[in-house]
């Protein structure tokens, strides 16, 4: 039988033991939650792609790969260009050989296991090029799924990966509806477009923007009403990719077509 003294002693040990794990849980802080909702900084980077101007030269892909040390020969890239060829009988053929690292230099369209397909010029209804990159979404699903806090969004809207913190689980690679993430072939961590954060933070433009000879790619600050990119986004007919996913993508497309997914 337990006497009263012993009972009190044991109760205190159990209660004390329970408190330790409870203290590990963060205390709910309504003030901080409120601050999360409206983090209004002066800068929010956005990207603008003018599909009409792109000719598929792939200089953007080349510059990105070199600037950001993306393994040149591996079939991975932070940004890529897609070719869309719509035939007169309504077929849409899409390809992006090596992510257009070397541009589009042939009329043959790479249809993977179906080989190279050549469409006669008179059968082509339209052909155009669409550059793709990370959308730096306002609601980035890739960030939500990270179990360790290795990927995050900065105050100015850029989604980054902490290479020292990533455990390589691949949830974010699966979570991105735009397929912009991949594993770095050498570092074995999740990898993605940083909008050239190192260049933006010192007043330069992203490497792909500087490399584009046709002005098809532009980067700007949506919180600055005088920014030319902001003016285009707010006054012209722009589109985003996969709006129905609710990710609020921040890469805007001028002159996009319904074939573009």
């Amino acid at each position: 039988m337990m006497n009263r003294r012993e009972f009190c002693k044991k109760t205190m040990i159990v209660a004390g033991g329970l408190i330790i794990p409870l203290s590990a849980l963060e205390v709910f802080n309504p003030k901080r939650l409120h601050a999360e909702k409206d983090g209004e900084g002066k800068v929010r980077w956005v990207f603008l792609v003018d599909v009409h101007k792109c000719v598929g030269c792939g200089f953007c892909v080349k510059a990105c790969k070199i600037e950001n040390d993306v393994t040149w020969d591996a079939n991975v890239t932070r940004t890529w260009v897609e070719r869309y060829v719509v035939t007169k009988d309504g077929q849409t053929l899409i390809d992006s050989p090596k992510g257009a690292r070397d541009g589009f230099v042939t009329q043959k369209i790479d249809q993977a296991s179906h080989g190279l397909k050549e469409v006669k010029p008179e059968e082509i209804a339209k052909g155009f090029f669409v550059p793709k990159l990370c959308n730096h979404c306002e609601n980035p699903p890739c960030v939500q799924v990270c179990p360790v806090g290795a990927t995050y969004q900065t105050g100015d809207g850029v989604v980054l990966v902490d290479r020292t913190w990533c455990i390589g689980c691949g949830y974010c690679v699966m979570g991105c509806p735009y397929g912009v993430r991949y594993f770095h072939p050498e570092l074995h961590v999740a990898e993605k477009c940083t909008l050239c954060y190192h260049r933006l933070s010192q007043g330069m433009l992203s490497a792909c923007v500087d490399a584009c000879p046709f002005g098809a790619r532009r980067v700007g600050n949506i919180r600055d009403p005088e920014d030319p990119v902001t003016k285009i986004i707010t006054t012209e007919q722009v589109n985003v990719l996969k709006e129905e996913f609710g990710t609020k993508p921040q890469v805007f497309y001028l002159g996009s077509s319904r074939e573009v997914k």
Binding site: T106, K126, Q144, L160, D210, P213
Partner: protein
């Protein structure tokens, strides 16, 4: 109650305590919730600075122009004036400090990025002067005849061979 009944509880408490201590030791001080809130902004703050320190390789044509004013004059009014120097001459890196110098791409592959003809009528690509790379002097480098800084002029360094296209 016997000691053996309590022992598992003490072991569990020790494990939990151990995990908590390791956690405080391993998680960096600046790991926390920042601007974008718990859902999007939970990260190690110093990583932002690490990305900002990433070395810039493409220094832009503005930097080239500071020393190579003659080359800038050469190209500025040509149809190739909108092409950044580094697209063909290679990224600046630490030029001119870097003793290796720049790696100029004079290859055919570079020119046909734009000048391989693709029959997309309503796209700018269909309007750029283009060739069929398999038929137009397949073994020659483009720069043998064409002057890359200004394609409207023939290359002064080379004699144009007497062949019809």
């Amino acid at each position: 109650m016997k000691n053996h009944v309590w022992r598992p509880l003490f072991i569990v408490l020790a494990i939990v305590g151990g995990i908590l201590i390791t956690r405080t030791l391993l998680v960096p001080d600046d790991f926390g919730v920042y601007e974008r809130g718990y859902m999007y902004g939970w990260h190690r703050k110093s990583n932002e600075a690490e990305w900002q320190k990433y070395p810039v390789k493409y220094k832009t044509a503005t930097v080239c122009r500071e020393c190579h004013k003659d080359k800038y004059e050469d190209i500025k009014d040509s149809p190739h004036g909108s092409i950044s120097c580094e697209n063909c001459h290679g990224p600046n890196h630490d030029h001119p400090k870097d003793p290796l110098g720049l790696n100029i791409d004079r290859s055919r592959g570079l020119c046909i990025r734009c000048h391989a003809y693709l029959p997309y009528k309503d796209n700018i690509r269909g309007k750029i002067p283009g060739i069929d790379p398999e038929k137009h002097y397949p073994q020659q480098e483009c720069v043998m005849c064409h002057y890359p800084h200004d394609p409207t002029r023939s290359n002064p360094k080379h004699q144009k061979p007497e062949v019809k296209s």
